[in-house]
């Protein structure tokens, strides 16, 4: 007899199901209203956005805010597209490098029993706990010393270190679940340890690697404080900081700001929604059963 059957037998009226539905409805609205309002505003003219009472569906729908952002022929469009490209370059580089560093480290933590392993693993986890501002001053000074201030490489290096702890943790959990017999079979067949890792284990851990990579990408794409501090030149800015400069020059153009916020959210939301199954699976298998 399954839980469902039992529950159905016990309650003639499914109170808990109703309660669940209610909770999800309320939270769904809480989440959705700001997002819907962002989209609605982005389709209004400057004048249309200032109507009271507020209009959910604009009486005049216009795409001019998006046209302005995405048209490379005018100055505003050029700037926005440049920020977009910078964000892609920085986040892309961070993702590739960060994953390349995390995968072997996670494998080593899962399989090898070298001295200091526990200490190092805990150190990496603890890194997770010191976000942004505590590291801001020393990193700024370090970057100034090595001449990386106002250089996108400073962001790539910093963002890599943000993503590492969780990626290593996730992936270690994944490797713990892959039986060691598989590599041993490969070793018996004459493969080196690294070949066994490369050709047998890595393909099996694709869901974990994908999840870790998405996580790193999203973090890098969204980061604000370091980009604000490390970069000065307008040519180098990433979207989160670029937007601020872009819009504070004029009277706040809310529809334009909402349109650009929406465009900025699309890549991460789409990436996440398409791959969320991977992500939740990896979080469950990786983080909790490790």
């Amino acid at each position: 007899m399954t839980m469902q059957q039992l529950r159905r037998r016990r309650f003639s009226f499914p109170i808990d199901l109703l309660l669940s539905g209610l909770v999800l409805l309320v939270l769904g609205l809480f989440v959705l209203i700001p997002i819907a309002w962002m989209i609605s505003t982005s389709l209004k003219s400057q004048y249309g956005a200032m109507q009271q009472p507020p209009q959910w569906i604009p009486s005049v729908i216009t795409f001019e805010n998006y046209q302005k952002l995405l048209d490379p022929r005018n100055e505003a469009g050029q700037r926005f597209l440049r920020y977009l490209r910078n964000s892609l370059v920085v986040s892309g580089a961070t993702t590739v490098l960060g994953t390349a560093v995390a995968v072997p480290a996670a494998y080593a933590f899962s399989r090898f029993r070298f001295p200091g392993r526990r200490f190092l693993f805990i150190t990496i986890l603890v890194r997770n706990m010191f976000p942004a501002v505590v590291f801001l001053i020393p990193l700024f000074i370090v970057m100034r010393t090595v001449g990386l201030v106002d250089h996108q490489a400073s962001l790539v290096i910093t963002y890599m270190s943000f993503g590492l702890p969780l990626s290593i943790w996730l992936l270690k959990g994944f490797y713990d679940n892959i039986p060691a017999d598989l590599e041993e079979a490969a070793l018996v067949d004459g493969a080196t340890r690294f070949q066994a890792f490369r050709q047998v284990i890595m393909p099996l851990s694709t869901p974990g690697i994908v999840a870790a990579a998405i996580y790193v990408f999203i973090q890098a794409w969204n980061e604000y404080v370091y980009a604000l501090t490390f970069l000065n030149s307008d040519e180098l800015l990433t979207l989160p900081v670029g937007l601020q400069r872009y819009f504070s020059e004029f009277v706040t153009d809310w529809p334009g700001l909402m349109a650009s916020s929406f465009v900025m959210s699309i890549p991460v939301v789409v990436l996440f929604l398409v791959l969320q199954r991977f992500f939740v699976q990896a979080l469950t298998e990786g983080a909790l059963k490790s």
């Binding site: 007899m1 309002w37 969204n222 809310w254």
Partner: protein, 318 residues
């Protein structure tokens, strides 16, 4: 790793310190190539984490006057200056006012959401995806969208409340000393409850179904099953998530910075904003380093509980 009653009767012979050192070095030599796998990660972390921590602590003992080049040893003066300034304690209270309600409310919304999503419902995958959106959206987008929602003249919230006749003139959500913190906390909860939800959801997968079924057959009602079985299994995940949330809120910067900049009249000034302005606007790097080190110490204390919870969890599962 077993801590409880499973103590063996005869204690194993402890190796002498010399033997242990020797063991360490032979282990190190044998494991040599294994380190290659973690070397890149270690280098990144050393450069971006280890060195900066050391540097901050060192710099906190120096005066770095913005007008003069170089730095001058002052011992504990920076710490004394900070701790004796009433403004620091005001900001500390603000930080707690920001952190504790944000964290608690994220749990009050996130845990029920996870419980609701954990049963077979129509559109389950879709709903989970929808509720996770705030978590993947950037803090910057979140801050702008909510600033617009809170706008005193053209904002949706004021418009809605006026229309319903609940208020007769617009509320100054972000410009009133009394309302600014609650307004910011709502935004933070919107952004963070999905994280609590997804962690709880992951934790719920570890609750054995057979146990719940057995309890149901034995006549335990839903409430008893929840408190006696589900919650004990979730305890560790909830604790770890709670500490992680506390720490990330204690350090939060972007949302208040972009929405109020710490104002009005420093009513939403919190630690990270204080440190940031001290360093990058007043250019007092030494003082800001001492401030960072203080915050760092407080977090280290919390981190200790976090690591302990993680390691006991590991011990239980082995």
């Amino acid at each position: 790793m077993i801590r409880s009653s499973g103590q063996p009767i005869t204690t194993p012979v402890r190796p002498t310190p010399q033997a242990r050192t020797q063991q360490f070095w032979t282990g190190l030599r044998k494991a040599g190539s294994d380190y290659l796998y973690i070397l890149p990660a270690l280098l990144v972390l050393l450069f971006v984490v280890g060195y900066p921590i050391g540097y901050t602590v060192a710099l906190s003992f120096y005066d770095t006057p913005p007008s003069l080049p170089g730095k001058y040893w002052t011992g504990l003066t920076n710490y004394r200056t900070i701790l004796s300034n009433p403004e620091f304690w005001h900001v500390t209270l603000n930080t707690l006012y920001w952190t504790i309600p944000s964290t608690v409310l994220a749990f009050i919304l996130g845990v029920p959401a996870a419980l609701a999503l954990n049963r077979r419902l129509p559109l389950q995958g879709f709903l989970r995806g929808l509720l996770l959106i705030p978590w993947v959206i950037s803090n910057v987008t979140t801050a702008y969208v909510w600033r617009w929602l809170y706008h005193s003249d053209f904002g949706l919230i004021n418009g809605f409340l006026l229309q319903l006749g609940i208020i007769d003139r617009p509320l100054q959500f972000l410009d009133s000393i009394r309302l600014v913190m609650p307004s910011l906390i709502v935004v933070n909860v919107w952004k963070d409850f999905p994280f609590v939800m997804v962690m709880t959801l992951a934790g719920l997968q570890t609750v054995p179904r057979e146990l719940l079924e057995a309890a149901a057959i034995d006549g335990a009602n839903a409430w008893q099953r929840f408190w006696r079985i589900t919650i004990p299994y979730l305890q560790n995940v909830l604790f770890v998530t709670f500490v992680l949330q506390l720490i990330s809120n204690l350090n939060h910067f972007t949302i208040p910075w972009l929405m109020t900049g710490g104002g009005p009249a420093r009513a939403s000034q919190i630690w990270s904003i204080d440190i940031y302005t001290m360093a990058f606007q007043s250019l007092q790097f030494g003082m800001a380093s001492a401030y960072s080190t203080l915050v760092f110490g407080i977090i280290l204390l919390l981190a200790y509980f976090y690591v302990r919870a993680l390691t006991t969890q590991e011990g239980v599962n082995r």
